[in-house]
């Protein structure tokens, strides 16, 4: 895997507020990469810096061996798909997509060929002469995509690509984007706040918070081994419990001691992260609690129970065993499940 | 975009030229600084004229407010498609020739004019009324000219008030009248103030209406300034008067901004 984009110790502040704080990460060729984080995490600033619309206070951005920090946006081999799509309202679909190629002064024939074939690839083959205001949200997005892809940039940046779409369309588009990325062979970098989106589409994800990169890993790795409480809380649903480890048992904050055979230092204060599927409801459970809410998810149900710990516990049950709100419940988990997360 | 900055300086340059003349004088040949003109301006004659101008303009503004506010309110209650048509209707006269609109009032008000003819014909009066060349005619003329400028900002302010605010007040127990008084009115004040300023400011500086409809019997500060510049050729004195007018208006703007801040800021 060759490194295509090397972001090296990049920092940027707005009015003394650090938007990017010593950010470093590497993106490989032909990767589908996601930058994930809540609002204010700096992900949009990073995206704009990659596109050339924000200058850096310090650090380097090296694309394919070339430092692009001083290269203006219209000269970078990077293209951006805007969150609002930013389609030119006074031009047809064809003219929108052809805009970039025309600026490259390509011959007419080549432009026509590339535009029409790409429009066909994104499923808009017969829309070339339409005006942009006549299109639906999903169609507008495809035009925006096509317009950026047709120039064959080294990196395609996508700013919250699916946020404006309805749920059903969004699911279809997730598959579309994956397929497209493989077909055109361009490195995609998606910026999003939606962890489900990032997890389902990306090969690797960088999780950001408050201008810093918290962890870079594959979706599975992030889910199974979050590096710190922030990542654990941000990715998927989890219950994070504080406890004191002593001779193979975890002393929880409500006084209950449960077996814990996970590798860690004896006597240490740890965070134990449990996914809902790690915990089961059983009459022999060591921890008792009261059900506060139940949330139906299709194949199973997420139950939230107040157990006297610092936070309520979230666990999954099958549809045939759903308790009622207010019922008493007993839960437990195996000593070797869960992940020890270091406090940051 | 340096060009843009340069062009922004132009209007400022003009206003700057003013202060030039305020302090500097020239009587054709000699440039010398003097404050004589300021003293002259304070002469009771001129103060009286300024007073008349303010009084007349205030009357016009008040009338415009009394008529304009309900009008703007009426427009907000029309169906959305009709609102724009109504706005265009109200604002259209403003975009036509000011002189001609004033002239139309001469047609109406003169002693052989239509209004008199109508009243005579209906037997309501036996002698034509002297409607023209009175302060009343001047007020009418100014009101006619600037009423649209009162309606537009009030409409803008009213239409921006979220209707759910009023509904929320009623939901929380206020009577319809109280809801209007406590929610709608305060939010409409800034727009109303803008409307008042838009009417008062041009009225004060106007000289056409006092001349054509007032017949020289009602002299306003606008006429005075015009005369100083074009007839008496006493530019310095004219400038002083103009500065006085502009200063008064700047104070008005500041006052309006202050009140707006108060109402919106603490609201």
């Amino acid at each position: 895997m060759t490194v295509l984009l090397d972001i090296h110790n990049v920092s940027k502040a707005f009015d003394q507020l650090a938007a990017l704080d010593n950010v470093s990460l590497q993106i490989h060729t032909n990767e589908f990469f996601a930058i994930l984080g809540p609002s204010g995490s700096g992900k949009t600033t990073l995206l704009r810096a990659l596109a050339g619309f924000e200058s850096l206070d310090s650090g380097q951005i090296v694309l394919d061996g070339q430092d692009v920090a001083d290269v203006p946006p219209n000269e970078r081999p990077v293209n951006l798909m805007f969150q609002s799509y930013a389609l030119f309202p006074h031009m047809t679909v064809f003219d929108n997509v052809a805009y970039g190629l025309r600026r490259e002064k390509r011959p007419q024939g080549e432009i026509a060929e590339r535009v029409t074939s790409l429009l066909a690839t994104v499923g808009l083959g017969d829309m070339a002469t339409r005006r942009t205001h006549q299109l639906s949200g999903g169609q507008k997005q495809r035009v925006a995509l096509a317009r950026a892809i047709v120039k064959r940039p080294k990196i395609l940046l996508l700013d919250e690509p699916l946020s404006a779409l309805d749920r059903k369309v969004r699911e279809d588009m997730q598959l579309e984007l994956k397929r497209l990325q493989h077909e055109v062979g361009i490195t995609f970098v998606v910026v999003t706040h939606d962890q489900e989106e990032a997890m389902s589409m990306a090969d690797r994800i960088a999780v950001m918070d408050q201008g810093r990169v918290e962890q870079v890993a594959t979706p599975v790795e992030l889910y199974k081994n979050p590096g710190n409480p922030f990542v654990a809380n941000f990715i998927g649903t989890s219950t994070l419990l504080r406890g004191h480890l002593s001779s193979g048992r975890l002393h929880l904050t409500n006084g209950v001691k449960v077996p814990c055979s996970l590798p860690s230092v004896d006597g240490a204060e740890i965070w134990l992260m449990l996914r809902p599927e790690d915990i089961s409801q059983t009459p022999a459970g060591a921890i008792t609690g009261t059900v506060i809410s139940t949330n139906f998810y299709g194949p199973n149900c997420l139950v939230v129970a107040e157990c006297g710990l610092e936070i309520p516990v979230k666990y999954l049950v099958g549809n045939s065993e759903v308790p009622r709100v207010g019922d008493a419940t007993k839960i437990s988990w195996a000593g070797d499940t869960g992940v020890v997360v270091r406090a940051s | 975009m340096g060009y843009v900055i340069a062009f922004m300086v132009l209007p400022i340059a003009i206003i700057a030229t003013y202060s030039f003349f305020q302090r500097g004088q020239y009587g054709g040949i000699v440039y010398s600084l003097t404050l004589d003109n300021f003293a002259r301006a304070l002469d009771s004659l001129y103060v009286g004229i300024l007073g008349t101008s303010v009084a007349l303009s205030s009357t016009v503004t008040l009338l415009a407010l009394l008529i304009g506010f309900p009008t703007a309110l009426a427009i907000t209650k029309l169906r959305p498609q009709h609102q724009n048509i109504a706005l265009v209707l109200v604002i259209l006269p403003f975009w036509t020739n000011f002189l001609i609109r004033t002239y139309a009032w001469i047609v109406l008000l003169s002693s052989e004019g239509l209004l008199n003819q109508g009243l005579l014909g209906l037997g309501i009066i036996s002698d034509p009324l002297a409607l023209l060349y009175t302060p009343g005619a001047v007020v009418m003329g100014l009101l006619y000219a600037y009423l649209p400028l009162m309606v537009l900002p009030i409409y803008a302010a009213l239409s921006r008030i979220d209707p759910s605010l009023r509904e929320a007040a009623i939901d929380l127990g206020a009577s319809r009248f109280t809801a209007i008084r406590q929610v709608v009115f305060p939010l409409a004040i800034p727009g109303t103030l803008v409307g008042c300023v838009f009417v008062f400011v041009p009225s004060v500086g106007n000289f056409i209406v006092p001349e054509l409809l007032g017949g020289g019997k009602t002299v306003m500060v606008g006429n005075l300034i015009r005369d100083q510049f074009l007839k008496a050729r006493d530019w310095p004195f004219g400038s002083v008067l103009a500065i006085a007018m502009v200063v008064m208006l700047v104070l008005l703007f500041a006052l309006q901004a202050r009140i707006t801040k108060r109402v919106l800021g603490q609201g």
Binding site: F82, Q83, F88 | M1, M8, I12, Y18, V88, W95, P148
Partner: protein, 256 residues
């Protein structure tokens, strides 16, 4: 929301008030009688006499020259000004100053300009009139353009840059076309404003090149005549037509 109700009467009365005088002038212009207020029959003779009147024709010619020149200049400058204050500056003081000429009394602006021209010894004539009109029309165009700019997605220009265009190219290929409705409305309105402009012209014009409003003024000072009625009607209808056409591009309510 309850309907218009009784307030509708206020609106109707106001419209009547605004249009009645104008309507009367138009009706009277077709009066065959030479004595204004006595109706003797329908005639268009005053209109034909207008076209034979040399000073009216000269005024018209000058007004058209000034109007078209002002229109072109104020659109170019006004749009640049609008872009400057909307995209490149956040200071509200700057914004107020830029739009000031539209708000300060025309008399103040007029004598300020007169003072300026004489200070730099520029002879008064059509050129000074054009410059003066441009200064205040420019502010109107800027106000209209600003309204439109605020509605446009700022990402459009970034998108064009991202796709490889130069800043100048972006301006002509993306910015200007997306502002076109405001440009058209601004052009039409500044032409109208210039065409109807009296006060500023009065002060900044030379004696030998009167514009149409100045011609009208000298006619009106002598009293009501049928020729004025005809001329007034034509000018009114002309202005109305232009404003209505411009409405198709930009709704006036959006530029407040």
């Amino acid at each position: 929301m309850t309907g218009v109700g009784k307030l509708g009467w206020v609106l109707a009365a106001v419209c009547f008030f605004l249009y009645a005088p104008i309507a009367i002038v138009i009706v009277m212009s077709f009066n065959a009688s030479k004595i204004p207020f006595q109706w003797t029959g329908f005639s268009t003779r005053w209109y034909s006499e207008l076209f034979a009147n040399a000073s009216v024709l000269e005024g018209l010619r000058n007004s058209l020259i000034v109007g078209v020149s002002t229109m072109i200049l104020s659109v170019v400058l006004g749009v640049l000004l609008a872009i400057g204050i909307t995209r490149h500056s956040t200071s509200s003081a700057v914004q107020a100053l830029a739009l000031a000429p539209a708000i300060i009394p025309d008399l103040a602006l007029a004598i300020g300009l007169l003072a300026l021209f004489s200070a730099i010894s520029v002879p008064l004539g059509l050129t000074t009139v054009i410059l003066s009109h441009t200064i205040f029309c420019m502010a109107f165009v800027a106000a209209i353009a600003r309204g439109r700019i605020l509605q446009i997605d700022p990402a459009l220009e970034e998108a064009a840059l991202d796709l490889g265009d130069t800043p100048r190219g972006v301006f002509f290929r993306v910015t200007v076309p997306s502002l076109m409705p405001a440009i058209i409305a601004g052009a039409l309105l500044s032409f109208t404003l210039s065409f109807d402009e009296f006060v500023i012209t009065f002060f900044t014009n030379g004696p030998s090149t009167p514009t149409l409003p100045i011609v009208i003024y000298s006619m009106v000072r002598f009293g009501v005549t049928p020729e004025i009625n005809a001329l007034a009607s034509l000018v009114l209808l002309f202005s109305v037509a232009i404003v209505l056409i411009s409405q198709r591009s930009v709704k006036l309510s959006q530029s407040i």
